[in-house]
Each structure stands twice: as structure tokens, then as C-alpha cells.
Amino acid sequence: MEVLFAVLIGCFFGAAIYLMLSKHTVRILLGVALLGNGVNLLLFTTGRLVREVPPIIPAGLDTLAPGTANPLPQALILTAIVISFSFFAFLLVLTYRAYQELGTDDSDDMRLAEPRDEPLPPMGY
């Protein structure tokens, strides 16, 4: 099962990197979102894959029953999902604004802050 998940995570990463290599900001954004999902799967897999037994100690016992799910990766994933979700929302707004302001989504054309023909400093006076 872990092997299957490793392959799946690899597919996620591959697709994400392919998208991020594009020069269109929307595709890069989609790539980042996909990467975030891949990482969440990775975190999930690192906590060992087990059957769906909730990690709650039954009444009368002091320890968890064997085979329960690991709650910690789930907490980590939840945090990571929250964060990547808010980042994605922010980046969506930013990309949209960039498209409106700069009139392009091609990262090669985004040279307003770093002009191509920037002069060298004067050699003397």
C-alpha cells in the first residue's frame, strides 16, 4: 500500500513540477496547488497507513487498541491544508491583480521591476 502511495505522490510531484516549469503564472499557481496536495499525501503516508480505526482510547483501557490510525499526521495535514488553502486564495487574487495591472500572465514579460536595459552606475564624474 505504501508503495502505491509513493507512486501516486511521485505522479503528483511530477505533474506539479511540470506545471511550475511553465511561464504562465496561472499554470505555476496550479502547480503549486498540486504540489501542496502531493505534500499532504506524503505527510499522510509518513504516519504509516493503517485501517480506519479512530485513535480514541476505549472505555476501561489505558492505551490505544492496536491498529488505530496515527492522529498526528492528520493534525499536520489539517494545518498544512489550512495554510495552503489561504495561500492559494491569496495567490489567486494576486495573479488576477497582476493580470489586470500588467496585462500579461507571461512571467517572461514581467520585467517592470527588473527592466532589461537597466543602466550601469556611472563610472565617474
Binding site: L78, A89, V93, Y96, R97, Q100, G103, T104, D105, D109
Partner: protein, 171 residues
Amino acid sequence: MNTLILRTVAPGLTALMLLFSIFVLLRGHNEPGGGFIGGLIAASALAIYGIAFGVGAVRRAMRFHPMTIAGAGLFMSTISGLVSILFGVPFMTGLWIYPSFLGAEVPLSTVMSFDLGVYLVVLGSIVSIALALEQDSEPEEQAVAPLPSPAELRPEVKKRRDPRRRAKESR
């Protein structure tokens, strides 16, 4: 997305979703649910309202600015964590009181007020992002009038296409 059906259904749907979001928030202590998901449901309720009636209507309905709500939530969560300094336990320890109202015992805790803070933070920040996205794509008149006539909707179409045209020109 400005159909008669949506505009008729939206107020009821928004109210229902807001109610459900509070149910999810309170359920969250012992069962699936909680402040984050509750806040998301509430934010999507307001987003539906915004789709139907425009950004201005949502802003009026909320009374406070979304970021003010988020700030209040953050402040509430911080204070909930800080209460434990008075009881000699570490930061963010859950503290419970059990007052009874009309004979029914109501457990209240700093855990719950923390979660309520999370609810408000999520509600405020997601609504402000959603409104920012929606505001850009609609003309000012629609943001003011809750029920625009079809004639007023035409400029919206034009304005939406505008950036693309600008992009083409720059290329």
C-alpha cells in the same frame, strides 16, 4: 449568475447555512466539525449572498468590515489562551466552567471560545478575499443596488473582457 431563482433562494439559503455553520462550530468539540470548517461554511453562505446581490449588499449585511471580524476573532483566541495564566497552568490549557441555565448544565470552556475565535478569523479573512475577487469583476453600480436591471448588467460583460483586450494590445 444573476437569475431570479438564485436571488429568490439566496437569502433563505444564506440564513440556513449560517445556522448550520454555528451548529458545526459547536458540534466540533467532541465530534467532527469545529471553528475552521464552520467559518468556511459561513463564508460560503455570504459568498452566495454576494453572488446574488452584489458585494455592497454583503458589506451592508455584515455591518462590520470582514477584517475587523477577523481581528476580533484573533484577539478572542489569544485571550482564551492567556486566561490560563490566572490559574497557574501553562499557556492554552483548556479551562472549564459548568454554570446551569434554567436547570440545564451548560459546559463552557476556553477551548470553545478559542474555537469561536478561529471561526471568526476564518469567516473574516475568507469573506474579505471572496469580496475582493468579486468586487473586481462587477461594476460599481451593481455593488450599490441590490437588484440591478438587465440594462445595468451589460457594462459588466464589457468590463470583464477589458483586461484581456489590454493584454492583447500590449502583445
